[in-house]
């Protein structure tokens, strides 16, 4: 716990610094390159403001809308932000509690077939609204972000054995919902968002929630080199029942979120480096999806949007040059392409040397 408390103090300070920096009127060029942004929009955004998950039957979800809004802020593209926000508000922000319905399908009626939310989508949307409101002096966006942050704080944060943690959704993962509940998902902690949420809705323990996520990740990585996605935290953290115990598509975002948030202390930086190394296939540089029980590699992902995740950590922390083919953006599928753009944006902001 000592380490976690230290990390919390440090990170809060760093997080705020990052937030304030990004909130200042952007004098420099946008961190998402216009050319790459145009390509992303052409591939994954329709005219109605819907971000299309091309790897998933063309459905949409709150996570995609949140990523779209965040990328629009990073691209300083108000037009696209307005478009995505209009869709998000009218089609997903329909829940009584002010959170976003998580799933939207163009081929079903009603489009929203599951009223549950997904906390990573909620956080991404609120975070992007907060940043846009500040960057563009738009009180209406700030207010919308504040309302969502308030709802997230009220419905999605909880305490477990002294730690503040994040529910994956408002319903379905608690102690009363499943025998091994509460269950959390480490990849739902969008660490960079927490300082912004704290400004939007100061009445909740956002610093505690951020620290709780980091501490939980640290404890998991103390036991193995890769984190599982769905964790039961009822007792000692362990893979949740009913989910494959694997390092999978969700979890591979964890290093990106850590990298984008703020550098932690030495121990955390070491953990991040180890994680990046462990997820990389040493021969090909592909990202490995791993069965955690056997340690066997289940899949090797070669899409540049995946490969850049550990490569960016290696460059940012260890100076390992980024392979050239990862420096350029070209659309493939929604998920890796989105991660690709977010990684490139971070490198451009914080480690421009990696892109030269």
């Amino acid at each position: 716990m000592r380490a976690a408390a230290g990390a919390k103090r440090l990170l809060t300070a760093f997080g705020l610094a990052v937030f304030l920096a990004s909130a200042a009127p952007a004098a420099a060029a946008p961190s998402v390159e216009p050319e790459a942004w145009d390509a992303w929009r052409a591939s994954f955004l329709d005219a109605s403001g819907r971000v299309v998950d091309t790897g998933n039957n063309g459905i949409s979800h709150s996570e995609g809308q949140g990523y779209g809004l965040l990328l629009a802020v990073l691209a300083e593209d108000r037009e696209t932000f307005e478009r995505i926000w209009s869709f998000t508000r009218t089609e997903l922000l329909l829940r009584d509690d002010g959170l976003a319905a998580w799933r939207w399908s163009p081929s079903e009626e009603p489009r929203v077939t599951d009223m549950n939310d997904a906390s990573d989508g909620d956080i991404l949307i609120a975070y992007a609204l907060g940043r846009a409101g500040k960057a563009w002096d738009r009180p209406d966006l700030t207010q919308a972000g504040a309302a969502m942050a308030e709802a997230i704080g009220s419905h999605l944060l909880f305490t477990q054995e002294g730690r503040t943690l994040l529910r994956p959704a408002a319903a379905g993962y608690d102690r009363g919902d499943r025998p091994d509940g509460p269950v959390v998902n480490l990849s739902y902690w969008v660490f960079e968002a927490f300082p912004v949420l704290a400004e939007l809705a100061p009445g909740h323990d956002w610093a505690g929630a951020e620290a709780g996520g980091r501490a939980l990740l640290a404890s998991v990585l103390a036991e193995g080199s890769l984190p599982p996605e769905w964790l039961s935290v009822a007792r000692r953290p362990r893979p949740a029942e009913g989910f494959p115990a694997e390092f999978g598509y969700n979890a591979l975002r964890v290093p990106l979120y850590l990298l984008r948030a703020a550098p932690g202390d030495e121990a955390e930086r070491a953990r991040l480096a180890a994680l990046a190394a462990a997820m990389t296939d040493p021969d090909t540089g592909a990202v490995r999806l791993v069965d955690l029980a056997s340690g066997a590699t289940k899949e090797r992902l070669t899409d540049p949007g995946y490969r850049i995740l550990p490569a960016a950590v290696a460059c940012a922390q260890g100076g390992t040059p980024l392979p050239d083919d990862l420096k350029r953006y070209a659309s493939t599928l929604y998920y890796p392409s989105t991660l690709h753009l977010l990684t490139l944006a971070h490198l451009k902001e914080e480690h421009p040397g990696c892109l030269r």
Binding site: R78, I84, L93, L94, D96, D140, Q143
Partner: protein, 737 residues
């Protein structure tokens, strides 16, 4: 332009905003705001009310009517060059022009209504096409996107133009309309997903959405209020439509929705807004009719429910004017539940004449049963007796009553065949037992024994059937069979144990009476659904049972009684005593008790010895059957009777005394007669019930409970009903039975 003038009137309505304001912001602190007068006056004031809440409002809620509302979002950090000076301090009519040019009448009207709500002094232009063209084709394209419902693209286009043309401000009107349109989409989506809080949140933030041009939205908001436990606010939303909006179809639909979602009491203020058409018919006539039917239908299932006289009149008027079978049937059930059997029968018969159905026939049969017209009841149910379990039960009730009917009327062979068939199909022990008693009364003892045995096979603990079987075996001389039955039942049934013993004669004579009383069981089963205060029913029928001791002895002597006519009707006093006696028995068999009494009396006067004795007996039986207990007693005293017969008559007289006293609400005398009777004969179950209710009337709850418990243990429904009455009386339960 007629459309224009129409919308102008609509536009005078300022929107439903106040209602929402009252609900969400001022809240309960200022109930006067909106509870006191939910009339149009308060609602019109709405346009000047502050927007619901600043914290969540992304929509530019129209605030106080100002010449040029500022755009909600100041899109550029840099100060605007100057306020759009070209615009007069008036209403932005760009949208009007655009919609008029597109020929988009619906949106044109909606826009006029909206502007009118915002700016009460504003007059819509005579011809929106003549509004000065700003000459801005780019803006026209944006309006086109808007009118196609592509709101995200409108947002994007505005942002794009602001980026390419620094200082450009979109028309405030466009931003207003856009916010309202997006709010509408969000509200409709939330409503479709039953997120009622979200519906109210969006509506509260967007008061100008709530006008007559968006009645669908008002409906959704009304429902959201009702679903979240605020029916009064839901009602006010409907009331807003009904007081402010004039589209006939929408008004009717509003009223229909209100009837589906609100309790009847909340509907009256809504119905009061009814407008009368040029034909003199109120626009809600059909709804009023349906409401009246619904309240009648509810009352038809619940005898305790009261129906407003106006509702009853409405349905009667409709039934008489239009003759719909369903209306007449409804009235039939209503009357049946309220024991108005002639009215019920008349209504059911009218319905049946128009269109027969299983339920109408059941109603008809139940009314006929209550009117003691059992043969007609049976016949009404013949076509429907297999239609459903309920129909079969009604049919069997008719059959049971028919079989048990007093008067010894012979039942038509076809009817009997149907009854036998139905009993067999339904494996109905009660009907089987009834057929047994019927056969027994015709001295067909082997047949009777068969049916009693069948009843026992279908219902092993059917004591009356066992009793019947025992009696039949006794009559058949089957001593072994009787003894076997007595071994099996003596512990449970004293009367079975008593058969064949010295003191068992009276019991045997009681046999047909037991059968009659038992006929109440199927009937009571039916009656349970049709009448709540069922207690007098069994008692009334008891009068017939009281006369039945005659059957056993009569069976001995009236072999010819199955002929359907008696010796010619001549003055009984000219007959010989013997002939008068025979005629008396014959008439009694035909249930013509008064004539029978006269014949017996003639025989008593002129006869002697056994003839006189028999005639006195017959006369007292005839009077008993007529309910003239005292004369019966008198007649019995005219000639000394053998002890057994003496006792039969005494039992019958006392039974009738008990019954009459109870009906006259004299419980003490009831109990006296019952006590006296119980010294002569074991108390039958129906008399036990009577005793229970007498105790209940005297507030001897402990005794009543004891008696009803004993009755209930025999499986008789009256026992449970009596226990329930005791509990109700002692306040242990509150529900109606």
């Amino acid at each position: 332009m007629s459309a224009l003038t129409k919308t102008t009137t609509i536009g005078l309505a300022a929107g439903f905003a106040l209602v929402l304001q009252g609900s969400a912001s001022a809240a309960d602190a200022a109930p006067t705001h909106w509870n006191a007068a939910s009339g149009p006056a308060t609602i019109v004031a709405a346009a000047t009310v502050e927007p619901f809440s600043a914290t969540l409002a992304q929509a530019p809620a129209p605030a106080a009517p100002q010449p040029a509302p500022a755009p909600p979002a100041a899109p550029e950090a840099g100060a605007p060059e100057s306020p759009p000076a070209a615009r007069p301090p008036a209403v932005d009519e760009t949208a009007l022009r655009y919609f008029a040019r597109q020929g988009d009448t619906r949106r044109l009207e909606a826009e006029i209504a909206r502007l009118k709500a915002l700016y009460p002094d504003w007059q819509p232009p005579e011809n929106p096409l003549e509004i000065e063209d700003a000459g801005d084709p780019e803006l026209d394209r944006v309006w086109e996107l808007y009118s196609q419902g592509r709101y995200a693209e409108v947002r994007a286009a505005i942002a794009a133009r602001q980026a390419s043309e620094p200082g450009w401000q979109p028309p405030a009107d466009l931003l207003d309309r856009l916010a309202v349109a997006e709010a509408r989409v969000q509200l409709v989506n939330a409503s479709n997903l039953q997120q009622w809080q979200a519906v109210i949140r969006v509506a509260s933030a967007t008061p100008s959405l709530l006008t007559c041009s968006e009645v669908d939205v008002l409906w959704r908001v009304a429902r959201a209020f009702i679903e979240t436990g605020r029916p009064d606010r839901g009602r006010d939303a409907y009331l807003y439509v009904l007081t402010q909006c004039s589209n006939d179809a929408e008004r009717l639909a509003t009223m229909q929705m209100a009837t589906q979602r609100l309790p009847r009491a909340e509907l009256d203020p809504l119905l009061a807004t009814e407008r009368t058409g040029s034909d003199g018919v109120g626009e809600f006539a059909s709804i009023r009719a349906d409401l009246a039917r619904a309240s009648l239908a509810e009352a038809a299932d619940d005898a305790a429910a009261t129906v407003a006289p106006a509702d009853l009149d409405t349905v009667k008027r409709l039934a008489d004017a239009e003759g719909r079978p369903s209306d007449n049937e409804l009235l039939g059930w209503y009357a049946l539940r309220r024991a108005d059997y002639p009215e019920a029968l008349a209504r059911f018969e009218r319905a049946r004449a128009a269109e027969d159905s299983s339920t109408v026939s059941q109603g008809t049969a139940l009314a006929l049963i209550q009117l003691a017209r059992f043969a007609e009841a049976e016949s009404a149910m013949v076509p429907w007796r297999e239609a459903s379990d309920g129909a079969r039960a009604v049919y069997l009730a008719a059959v049971a009553n028919l079989l048990a009917a007093p008067g010894g009327a012979t039942i038509d062979q076809a009817v009997l065949a149907r009854a036998v068939d139905a009993a067999a199909k339904a494996r109905d022990a009660a009907t089987a037992q009834q057929i047994g008693w019927y056969a027994f009364s015709l001295n067909q003892f082997p047949t009777a024994a068969q049916w009693f045995a069948t009843a026992l096979a279908w219902k092993a603990d059917d004591e009356p059937a066992a009793f019947g079987l025992a009696l039949a075996r006794q009559r058949l001389g089957d001593a072994g069979g009787l003894a076997a039955l007595q071994r099996e039942w003596s512990a449970r049934s004293p009367r079975i144990a008593a058969i064949g013993r010295e003191d068992g004669v009276g019991l045997a004579a009681d046999a047909a009476g037991a059968g009659l009383a038992q006929a109440e069981a199927p009937r009571a089963r039916q009656a349970a659904a049709t009448e709540t205060p069922a207690r007098p029913r069994a008692v009334l029928r008891e009068r017939a049972a009281a006369a039945s001791p005659a059957r056993a002895p009569r069976a001995d002597r009236s072999a010819g009684a199955s002929g359907r006519s008696c010796p010619e009707e001549i003055d009984p006093y000219t007959l010989s005593a013997q002939a008068a006696l025979a005629r008396g028995w014959c008439l009694l068999d035909l249930d013509r008790s008064l004539l029978a009494a006269a014949a017996f009396n003639s025989a008593v006067r002129r006869g002697a010895g056994a003839v006189r004795q028999d005639a006195a007996y017959g006369e007292s039986l005839a009077y008993l059957r007529l309910g003239l207990v005292d004369r019966a007693a008198l007649a019995a005293a005219a000639s000394p009777q053998p002890a057994a017969r003496r006792r039969e008559l005494d039992v019958a007289v006392l039974t009738d005394r008990a019954t009459s006293a109870y009906e006259a609400k004299r419980p003490v005398e009831t109990l006296q007669a019952l006590d006296e009777r119980s010294r002569l004969a074991p108390e039958r179950i129906d008399l036990l019930i009577l005793r229970g209710f007498a105790y209940l009337d005297l507030r001897r709850y402990g005794d009543a409970e004891q008696v009803f418990s004993a009755v209930a243990r025999t499986g008789n429904v009256e026992g449970a009903r009596g226990l329930n009455a005791v509990r109700q009386a002692t306040g242990r339960i509150r529900s109606n039975y």
